[in-house]
């Protein structure tokens, strides 16, 4: 049946559809292989240990979850703030949000020590735990955004899209606040324990989500031999520029606040100067590749006519985002806990030393599998439903005037 329905393509390309689905499927199979292997042998096969307890799978999972809430921003700007070009993109935005959240959660669940107890996670709640609140936010996100999508795509329910879109907007802000707080509420670790974490994750989600949206949208236009209107491209690239600049600003303030507290100096020296791979990923990955270069590209003279330039900038933001998650999640654990400030510490349990982390193939399979899940869901969704943005240029011109 899928061969006959291709709502988002001017000419049906079933071959391309099945190829993409197959490629995504292989990545998902790799993830399942890693899951069953770890389920049988335990996490002893991974590079994670009692020092780096959250590794590469969590880097991908948290990136996907944060970007999922951010990608919904496109719909929110349309529904909540009434911007026409974003309204036309709201269904694609909502669908991507669901697909990416599903991908991120798949990684988190399959990496659990006891994934067979998922039902326990859904039925036993410690309401003091921000992690438990995250589970409520994730489940609610599926329900609310799912409903929102229905109101966006069913003409008869269109009137409800604004109030539900508003609820979805508030819910996603809550979700990213909770995700950032997973780290912000870790009182003992120098790399976390900051009220900056929640707002910083929100602003970063704006940038990562919009970057993902631009990449998917560009691919969809390309396959249909359509070109994005220059005015729309210009607005979206400028918005991405603002989000990148805001993310950089929050990053600077986060590190400045840490530098203000003498007890945090050692951690800052580690991340900013002496942390090896983490320092490199911070400066080169998060700041240069994920921030400064895309900013320069987006505001370069020919960028508003060049979809290629914007596409490269968006891809760099995604790469920078994964680097940022690696620095935040793994870097924050690699820096040793200081049990006795003012003392050098050593033990058989690796106290007082910077922890090494070398992910194995299983972590890569799990992490990329999350992207695979989001990709497969997206490919199937754009095949079966009408997600290609339908711009109303008359309204757009009226809005501009």
């Amino acid at each position: 049946m899928a061969n006959d329905t291709c709502f988002n393509q001017q000419t049906c390309k079933p071959g391309l559809f099945w190829t993409l689905l197959g490629l995504g499927g292989i990545v998902v199979l790799g993830m399942l292989y890693a899951f069953f292997t770890l389920e049988h042998h335990g996490h002893v096969l991974t590079g994670m240990d009692n020092q780096i307890v959250w590794g590469l799978p969590h880097v991908f999972a948290v990136f996907l979850i944060v970007a999922a809430s951010g990608v919904l921003n496109v719909a929110s700007i349309g529904s909540v703030f009434g911007k026409q070009i974003y309204k036309a993109r709201a269904p694609l935005s909502g669908m991507l949000a669901l697909a990416m959240l599903a991908g991120g959660l798949a990684v988190l669940v399959l990496d659990l020590g006891r994934p067979d107890r998922l039902i326990v996670a859904m039925t036993y709640y410690n309401f003091k735990s921000i992690f438990a609140w995250n589970m409520i936010f994730y489940n609610g996100f599926f329900a609310i955004v799912g409903l929102y999508l229905i109101t966006l795509m069913d003409r008869k329910l269109k009137a409800y899209s604004k109030p539900i879109g508003f609820i979805a907007f508030l819910w996603r802000l809550g979700l990213t606040t909770a995700t950032g707080s997973i780290f912000g509420f870790l009182v003992a670790r120098a790399g976390y324990n900051s009220a900056m974490m929640a707002p910083m994750f929100i602003i970063m989600s704006f940038a990562y989500g919009l970057a993902v949206f631009l990449v998917v949208q560009t691919a969809m236009y390309k396959w249909n031999n359509l070109s994005l209107d220059e005015r729309i491209l210009s607005r979206m690239k400028n918005l991405l520029g603002v989000f990148i600049a805001a993310s950089l600003y929050f990053t600077v303030v986060f590190h400045l606040t840490n530098l203000y507290f003498a007890k945090q100096w050692e951690f800052e020296r580690f991340i900013l100067l002496e942390g090896g791979v983490y320092t490199a990923l911070f400066w080169l990955g998060q700041i240069v590749i994920g921030g400064l270069v895309p900013l320069a590209l987006l505001y370069s003279p020919g960028a508003r006519q060049s979809i290629g330039t914007v596409m490269v900038a968006a891809l760099l933001v995604i790469i920078g985002g994964i680097a940022q998650m690696y620095v935040t999640i793994v870097g924050g654990q690699a820096f040793p806990l200081d049990l006795f400030p003012g003392y050098a510490e050593s033990s058989s349990f690796h106290d007082g030393v910077v922890h090494a982390y070398a992910p194995t193939i299983y972590e890569f399979l799990l992490g990329f599998g999350g992207i695979g899940v989001a990709f497969v869901l997206t490919v199937a969704a754009v095949r079966a439903f009408k997600f290609l943005p339908q711009d109303d240029f008359k309204t757009l011109e009226a809005e501009e005037a």
Partner: protein
């Protein structure tokens, strides 16, 4: 009539005698239990842990032998741990060597779960598997731990381990399982039998006497007396967790 009175008087006397004897027998039967509860907090298995008790440990680093790891060995034996010290191996207790960076003074001390009054691991656990018993012992409920490891991220003392591989040769009293988080339980199975935790017993047996275990709520207990008479340190006191394990000599 007078005979009847006499009879009633005799009956009253018998009743009084009966009640007296009954009370004496009941008292004799109950008293040891009540007394034992007061002295040693013994309780039946079906009785819940009491909030009247808070178990704690005081470690005197001056008495702790440099290079001695008897507490670690005893813990491994009691809890069925392999004793391996790779990055993925479980350690409930470890010897931590610290050196004052200002004057070079060194200490060697056992580091274990600090059994906080306000444990961050319990706060963050999504399912409530990390929990604190009424008597202050912090435990992991292995039935509802999903293995997310958030408690390990939250613990300020790096006291928790994750069971990275299938476990064999377990001590039936200390069930462990692949994919769950675990840590020192103060040897809860021994404490409930009124025995000392294995590490404390080993430390006493080798004559170091560096570890003192007891009820922090009981002002007459040895640990309370020791804490009252000498200064002690709470590790990461800045976090305000009110740990059940205290150190002297640092």
């Amino acid at each position: 009539m007078s005979e009847q009175n006499n009879l009633e008087g005799r009956a009253d006397g018998d009743r009084r005698e009966f009640l007296k004897t009954g009370a004496a027998i009941t008292g004799a039967a109950l008293a040891p239990g009540v007394l034992l509860y007061g002295v040693a907090h013994s309780r039946a298995p079906e009785q819940p842990a009491s909030a009247e008790v808070r178990w704690g440990m005081l470690i005197d680093t001056a008495k702790c032998g440099d290079g001695c790891s008897d507490c670690v060995t005893a813990c491994n034996t009691e809890n069925g741990l392999s004793g391996k010290t790779g990055p993925q191996d479980t350690q409930y207790i470890r010897k931590l060597d610290i050196k004052d960076l200002r004057n070079g003074r060194v200490h060697s001390l056992p580091m274990l779960c600090q059994h906080c009054e306000h444990p961050p691991c319990v706060d963050v656990c999504p399912t409530g598997a990390s929990m604190k018993r009424a008597d202050g012992i912090v435990l992991v409920d292995r039935h509802i731990c999903i293995g997310c490891r958030y408690c390990m991220m939250a613990c300020p003392y790096k006291a928790r381990s994750f069971a990275h591989e299938p476990i064999t040769d377990q001590n039936p009293e200390v069930p462990r399982g692949k994919g769950c988080v675990e840590s020192c339980t103060f040897c809860v199975q021994r404490v409930d039998r009124e025995e000392l935790p294995a590490c404390v017993e080993a430390c006493e047996a080798n004559g170091h006497q560096a570890m003192l275990f007891g009820d922090l709520m009981d002002p007459q207990s040895a640990i309370s007396q020791a804490l009252k008479s000498q200064p002690s340190t709470e590790v990461r006191a800045d976090l305000g967790l009110n740990t059940g394990v205290r150190y002297q000599g640092i």
